[in-house]
Amino acid sequence: AQRVTQPEKLLSVFKGAPVELKCNYSYSGSPELFWYVQYSRQRLQLLLRHISRESIKGFTADLNKGETSFHLKKPFAQEEDSAMYYCALRRADSGGYNKLIFGAGTRLAVHP
């Protein structure tokens, strides 16, 4: 079964501390994974894609196929990073249309 697991509902850290938001997936094909973020009173938006291997707002995420993980990391958390983070997995249906499977989300709280 295709599934995305985010084991932590809440991650609470102090400003300047490293952050790692965990994401594990289950998928039989070649996975494509994403991180979406929702800041307070803002709409959900794409943060980064594994395929682009980029760093956005200091965040990076590496796809580890052996561990079926796509953890989101940042070396030094900032207060403005406080938000809800969702890991998502692309899946193709029988008609060839791409959809996303989302994890349950992790709320990151960065304290001063």
């Binding site: 509902k9 709409r43 969702y86 692309r90 060839g96 249309y97 791409n98 959809k99 996303l100 989302f102």
Partner: protein, 113 residues
């Protein structure tokens, strides 16, 4: 700048009422989606539409229907609202079926009493 708008930010309805949630996008996107967002469950796909008048069930379509008569508008319909449909509803659109980024609306928080 992509704009996805939803007709209401907050909505309170009574059990058994017929409820319409409207979503409009202004970027000529072919694909549109309706999700519900619940704490601890994340986003779950209710329905999606890959073109005008075309629709497919998502993971949790029971109790919902949709309508897409025009490309820019995708409506979610609760035929007879129930309390377990109290949730945040998010609409999203995407330019074509091979693109992965979805653009989300601000959400409609529906309370069914």
């Amino acid at each position: 700048d992509v704009k996805v708008t939803q007709s209401s930010r907050y909505l309170v309805k009574r059990t058994g009422e017929k409820v319409f949630l409207e979503c409009v996008q202004d970027m000529d996107h072919e694909n549109m989606f309706w999700y519900r967002q619940d704490p601890g469950l994340g986003l779950r796909l209710i329905y999606f539409s890959y073109d005008v008048k075309m629709k497919e069930k998502g993971d949790i379509p029971e109790g919902y229907s949709v309508s897409r008569e025009k490309k820019e508008r995708f409506s979610l319909i609760l035929e007879s609202a129930s309390t377990n449909q109290t949730s945040m509803y998010l609409c999203a659109s995407r330019p074509e079926r091979l693109r992965y980024e979805q653009y989300f609306g601000p959400g409609t928080r529906l309370t069914v009493t």
